[in-house]
């Protein structure tokens, strides 16, 4: 890689990726947790079982997830303009990614909550705990280990998704690899970026695995 020529751009790409991934993990994580918990608790027979709300959430997730990211980006353009003030660059890309990541994470959260022993939820109900308290103090802690793994999974997905930020001028490492590596047939650049991403993912996964093991009180 020609560091003199690409060095600054590369560092900028790293910054952009950090920005996009960081905010997406935060916003998408919160959104996903909220929707995922919503899906779980409103499921038939569960804590706040509610057909209507479940159907709406379920539909929303099903609508957003399969839309190709590019089309999704454009489709929410007006919303992005309202919220972020612009439709190109790193911020709007982050906005779209957060939404998409939220809907993706929602399913992961839902999935992990399904495996909780209903006995403990029952114990909390028997003590008069409110649904909100049960969510906060039972559902999340009891499913923490798989939730951490799910969040790590999301991280890798978001990093991957951030490569598509290039479509809206969001830049980032993935875009860097494509623009300066792939399209230039410069496999050296591509390889370096991929290695960087793999190392980051390896670290994240190691962290996730470790935290999950700690959270798994067995």
């Amino acid at each position: 890689m020609d560091w003199n020529r690409l060095g600054d751009t590369f560092l900028l790409a790293v910054q952009q990726t950090l920005y996009m991934v960081g905010w997406t993990m935060l916003a998408g994580g919160i959104l996903g947790l909220a929707i995922g918990i919503g899906l779980y608790v409103t499921r038939r027979g569960n804590l706040l079982s509610n057909r209507g709300v479940f159907a709406v959430l379920n539909l929303a997730v099903n609508i957003v997830r399969p839309i190709p990211f590019l089309i999704f980006l454009v489709a929410i353009g007006p919303l992005t303009l309202n919220v972020v003030g612009t439709t190109i660059g790193t911020e709007p890309a982050t906005f779209a990614m957060s939404l998409m990541a939220g809907f993706v994470f929602a399913r992961l959260v839902e999935q992990n909550l399904v495996a909780i022993d209903p006995g403990v939820v029952e114990a909390a109900r028997a003590m008069g705990a409110s649904p909100w308290r049960i969510i906060r103090t039972i559902l999340i802690p009891e499913a923490l280990a798989p939730l951490i793994l799910g969040y790590t999974f999301l991280f890798v997905g978001v990093l991957d998704m951030s490569a598509m930020a290039g479509y809206v001028g969001g830049g980032g490492l993935g875009d860097f690899a494509i623009v300066y590596g792939y399209r230039q047939y410069d496999w050296g650049v591509t390889a370096i970026v991929v290695v960087v991403m793999v190392v980051v993912v390896q670290l994240a996964q190691w962290l996730g695995n470790t935290l999950a093991r700690v959270a798994l009180r067995r």
Binding site: G89, G166, Y167, G169, V179, Y185
Partner: protein
Amino acid sequence: APGSTGGGGSSDDASGDGGTTVTVGVVGAGDAHWDVLVDKAAEAGITLELQNFSDYQLPNQALSQGELDANQFQHLQFLAEFNVNTDSDLVPVGATAVYPLGLYSTAHASVEEIPDGGEVAIPNDPTNQARALLVLQEAGLVTLTDGGSSLSTPADIEDSRVTVTPVDAGQTAISLQSVDAAIINNDYVGEADLTPEDSIFEDDPASAASEPYINVWAVQAEDADDETIAQLVELFHDPEVEAAHQEESGGTAVFVDRPASELQEILAGIEENLRAQG
């Protein structure tokens, strides 16, 4: 718009050195000539900020929303389609070059040798796909509905003696090992260990028929006379920039330096045609 015209969302008067900042949308900021241009612009007191896109629709959209001062990634044909379809009035203010689009093959020495039912890869990006189909029609491999147009897609292939497979532009050269022939953007010809001379068929960039494929700088209508952009247009034809660009294109780029008015005329012509087609 740059400087005082004040339409551009991301432009401002850089007070520090008295220069001006211009944000230009491009597809493929990785191309070497941009580096040279940025340096040249800096010498002229212009801070040229490149906003890279990987998608071809968004640079125009961003420009018409005023989020860019200019863009430079498309030919007149593509710009016309955008204007017509989205009721926009982006205008070309300068030309860069026109590139030949050639058909290459490692398996066959001529178009005639391509077997019936063979497979031909074409780039799937919108600035090249329709043009590639027209090249194939010219080469006698396909017939397009109504003679084809700059909006043609594989769905418009009426009759064909080969299978046409659109792929990512970067994949066309790579795909040569799998297909009988491929239309390859000249950007990628060198990367595939080919030279433009190896093409078994190509359109003629110098002919009038290639006019719609002249690549241009586009701006919002009210910025048509912007000085800074005009300066950039001029700087693009600086020998150093052209040299860098020529090297990249494998020596096939035909530089075009036509006045804005001519370009706008050609554009108007294409737009009229498009509207007539409905």
